[in-house]
């Protein structure tokens, strides 16, 4: 715990954490001292000079006009932000920034969420006195995502401080000097960073704006929003999608100080296209005939009953989706319980085994899994098991923070990746071979056990690991590395852990809710289900949100599901839904609510956008209707999450009460974890 100090702000004494700057403290206290260049993640720069306040080191000592962000708070300091000299200074400062700024606020696409606008109003600058020509710039084409409008720049340096200093990108820079400072690329061209979209948010004015949003622009205050979770990977970034007139217009990161904090990756930000896509399922179908969803559900229920009667137990099966919520998958499992059917989840058998092992280790508390902010604190990182930049981009950004702090990074990946440039050493090997390399490192940690010619990569990684104070291993539990890789990483951590020194371990997963469904009780290998569908043993198959499942291999067109009656509960007319006998459309991710579990086993609640749309039910609701139509509505109320998933009973009851703006619920921190999970 850091020490507390006392500082007086505008005559009121406050307690604050020591070692922070005055601006930080004021903002945390909810006191809005105008500022531009300071950003919680990017720190203080002292460039804008707006955060001026009268600051005195203590009672009886003279106060001076100082920049709050450049002043470290000391015990006894007295801060006055209302002093006329400070107020006047800030007003003049805004006047300076507005000298060259276009006066096009009424039609500017940043309007309504522009920090410059807010600060101008806050500082009460009203009259333009400059009568000289304004400076103008040529804009650049920065590619498909980001629009550039340099004339709006107020030179706060936030963009380069984010893009270059924070995200370690090297194709956005600052050029020129004096009154002609330019922020952009060396030449026109698409920004290459995976995190370029954050420029839209860090830029306090409208220099960098979302090109996709511009194309379907509406006033930001007209957007309807809902707190959601990004569906694109297992990090579970908190996001705020915004919609208007039946369409999703844009996605922004939503602050959550235990997950993504301020930022998100471009894949998530610009990857909401599926909501507005042409291939959305809008109407129900049964045996080729269009009908209402209610009718289709009734008919499907009848058909399922018939099949069970005719073919008996085991003739009915379902495949759940890591891209769907806990609720939807729970409803699917319950449906199978009702019908005494079998179920699995999309992916392969080997992958499922790996996911289940990794999730169990985390749920059991057998590994210490860091949150993203904790990942940033490590002083040694080994990445193994996949391309983290593509598979868990925000974790890549967290690793970049360790690189900035000078921590060594070692990478074992299938092929060259973007983080290699920052690694002490990078080793490229196919996923199935990676477990052996990890074991080599474990061996090298233990010189006595070392046999034969030591592997220099393993040796270097081991010696860096041995001397680190806060080491971490990030392991992809996504695919071909299989259970062997999961275990190898765990063994390495077990060996590296010492009483005085924890060694953290992340397993990242292929999809948003892979972790959640990995805890399912009694699921089969997807391989056996798929096989039994293909060989005709399974007569009815319910497929949940295949469109979001990441499994594009299956169903395989070359092996038609001849005698199987297929039911697709989906938002998107993908392969499964096109061929299905019964199509039960549902709302897409951003239009519905639910709970998902990220790589840490953190259950997070998301809400749906109130999009007026033809289909208003979530997949979970559709499935529950189906259960009711089967006459088993009773079971719904009797079933708890922990009946279906290996989660503590306490967590089970809390899931329904989770607030979307909370920190979520970590499975390992819910009580009685060890009792419930073996």
């Amino acid at each position: 715990m850091s020490a507390k100090i006392k500082i007086t702000v505008n005559g009121v004494m406050h307690e604050a954490e020591a070692g922070r700057n005055i601006l930080q403290i004021l903002l945390d206290l909810g006191i809005m001292l105008p500022h531009f260049c300071y950003h919680e993640a990017l720190g203080a720069a002292g460039a804008c000079r707006l955060c001026a306040a009268m600051i005195s080191p203590g009672a009886g000592k003279p106060a001076r006009l100082e920049m709050a962000c450049m002043t470290r708070a000391e015990d006894g300091m007295i801060v006055d932000i209302t002093n006329p000299q400070a107020v006047d200074f800030r007003e003049k400062l805004i006047e300076e920034l507005m000298l060259n700024h276009p006066h096009d606020c009424p039609v500017c696409d940043e309007g309504g969420e522009c920090m410059l606008q807010d600060m101008t109003v806050l500082c009460r600058h009203q009259h333009r006195r400059n009568r000289f020509p304004k400076r103008t710039w040529r804009n650049q084409d920065l590619g498909p995502h980001i629009h550039h409008e340099m004339n709006r720049c107020i030179t706060c340096y936030r963009c380069v401080r984010f893009y270059r200093d924070y995200a370690l990108g090297d194709d956005l820079g600052v050029f020129g000097s004096r009154g002609r400072v330019y922020f952009g690329r060396m030449r026109d061209g698409a920004l290459v960073s995976e995190f370029s979209g954050n420029l839209v948010d860090v830029c306090p004015t409208g220099v960098f704006t979302d090109k996709h949003f511009r194309a379907v622009y509406c006033r930001p205050w007209d957007l309807q929003t809902a707190p959601s979770i990004c569906p694109h990977c297992s990090v579970g970034c908190n996001v705020l999608p915004g919609s208007r007139h039946k369409t999703l217009r844009r996605i922004k990161p939503r602050r959550n100080h235990t997950v993504n904090r301020f930022f998100m990756c471009d894949h998530g930000r610009f990857g909401g296209g599926f909501v507005n896509a042409d291939n959305r399922l809008t109407s129900a179908r049964f045996d080729g005939a269009g009908m209402s969803l209610d009718d289709a559900i009734t008919q499907t229920a009848e058909r399922l009953k018939e099949i069970v009667q005719t073919h008996g137990r085991g003739a009915v099966a379902a495949i759940g989706s890591p891209g769907a919520s806990l609720e939807a998958n729970a409803a699917l499992i319950l449906l199978m319980k009702t019908l005494e059917g079998r179920f699995a989840f999309f992916s392969t058998g080997a992958e499922r085994a790996a996911h289940k092992r990794a999730a169990a280790l985390i749920a059991n508390g057998q590994v210490d899994t860091p949150s993203l902010p904790e990942v940033e604190q490590a002083d040694f990182t080994l990445i193994v098991g996949g391309d983290i930049t593509r598979e868990a981009p925000m974790m890549d950004l967290a690793v970049r923070q360790t690189i900035r702090a000078g921590a060594p990074l070692f990478i074992i990946s299938p092929q060259a990746g973007k983080l290699d440039a920052f690694a002490k050493a990078a080793r490229h090997a196919a996923l199935p071979e990676q477990a052996a390399i990890v074991s080599n490192i474990a061996q090298a940690l233990d010189h006595a056990l070392m046999t034969g010619q030591p592997d220099p990569f393993a040796g270097a990684a081991a010696s860096a690991l041995a001397t680190a104070k806060r080491p971490q291993i990030l392991c992809g539990a996504t695919g071909a590395g299989g259970i062997a890789l999961v275990d190898a990483a765990h063994s390495l951590v077990a060996k590296a852990v010492r009483p005085e020194r924890p060694c953290r371990l992340v397993y990242w997963f292929p999809a948003m809710n892979s972790f959640g469904i990995s805890l399912a009780r009694n699921d089969e290998s997807p391989d056996t289900i798929k096989q039994d569908v293909e060989n005709g043993r399974i007569k009815a198959l319910t497929i949940l949100e295949h469109g979001a499942s990441l499994d594009s291999e299956w169903p395989d067109d070359s092996k038609p599901m001849k005698s199987c009656f297929t039911i697709a509960v989906d938002a998107i007319a993908g392969k499964a839904a096109t061929d299905a006998d019964a199509v039960l459309p549902c709302a897409s991710h951003y239009e519905t609510f639910g709970t998902v579990m990220n790589y840490e086993g953190r259950a997070q609640r998301f809400e749906g956008l109130p999009l007026p749309r033809p289909v208003t039910w979530s997949s979970a609701e559709v499935l529950l209707k189906l259960i009711e139509a089967l006459g088993a509505g009773e079971a719904i109320n009797r079933t708890e999450y922990h009946d279906l998933f290996e989660i503590p009973a306490t967590m089970s009851s809390l899931i329904g009460t989770l607030a979307p703006d909370s920190e979520g619920l970590l499975i390992r921190s819910t009580a009685a974890v060890r009792e419930v999970v073996g």
Binding site: G46, A52, L65, E96, L99
Partner: protein, 442 residues
Amino acid sequence: MAQGVRTMSEIVLFKNIQKNGPELFPAGAAAIPACGYDDYVKNGGYQGARKALKMAPLEVQQVVKDSGLRGRGGAGFPTGMKWSFVPMDFKGQKYLICNCDEMEPGTFKDRALVYGDPHQLIESMIIAAYAMQMTQGFIFIRCEYRKGARILEQAAAEALNHGWLGKNIQSSGFDFHLDVHLSAGRYICGEETALLNSLEGKRANPRSKPPFPQVYGFLGSPTIVNNVETLCNLPHILARGAQWHKSLGLNGNAGTKIMGASGRVKNPGLWELPLGTPMREVLNEHAGGPSRGKSFKTVIPGGLSTPMMTPDQFDTPLDFDSVAKAGSRLGTACLIAFDEDDCMVAATANIMKFYMRESCGFCTPCREGIPWIYETVKAIAEGKGEEGDLAVLDDMARHIFHTFCAFAPGAQGPLLSAITTFRHEFEFLIQKSQCHTAGGAS
């Protein structure tokens, strides 16, 4: 100044530099042949360093502290005290940097020291480096002094040959490597933290302080940045002692100062004079009084970035404290003189153009405020002034003080004094659209 005393300028013969007139070009300080190693040694060169190398490093620091030497780069910070902030127990490499960026308009003293007597600077750096046990030194020299850079490189090669640089200097066990870094331009590089960024191959934006360079400087290591002239005092202080140096100044000031005069003086030039020499003596006796028979109107005393002083203040002794008391700063002690016929509005426009062009562009008041001030002053000077312009200048002149570095406060000095002292000229121009002086701008 005491006769026969060897000080900074003995070898560099200033009378050559100060001689004005239609001499053949190339002229100026560059025309004076640099003093070579043999001549330098013949004149007592390297004695100070020899003495220093026999002392303990902290003893050398103490001598410098006792000498009362204050920085000649403009701020007048006591050199010995600055050095004492260097953590002597630091394990890695520490750096000594000589600031020869001299771009302050009206200032030309460092050029003389470098072009005329390069070995004096090298000897000085050896002493400073030894005192703080810094094994790597840089001379950061402005791009326009590239001939000077070559002179220094040549001298450094001679020094190396004679065992004064490199490993185990004069068998003392002390290593000192010296590199000459030719800058790529821009005034802001003279600001010591901007200089460090520049030397590291970055854009020369200043850094925030703390941490101070003495603790966290070049490449994050303890670093001392000293002005050329500050350093050039060291050999003499070491050779003759702290007390001797103290005795050189007038009214309790320590040492001499290279003072200069340019602008509307008859004999512009440089003179090494005791600190505390009255401004009037420099203007009239050394610089020969006004150049075109008009009386002086104002003097900017210390390079451009210092507030203007008026004739009633000409008795001010030129030392750090007296000039500060008179409301200005000694700065580089290179006087810029204006006479009755100079239009101070046009002159202010010229001054602000300099700051506008040389701002590094990092912080708002400097980057945005100064161009606005310049446009406004220029409009007034051109007879296009408007009601309200002076209010803008008043506001902005007050405003450009709270900036990231001392550059913009430097611009504030001459500006604030101009619009205060010569307000009537601004008002006259705004009302009448013509200059109240006979000649207007030059």
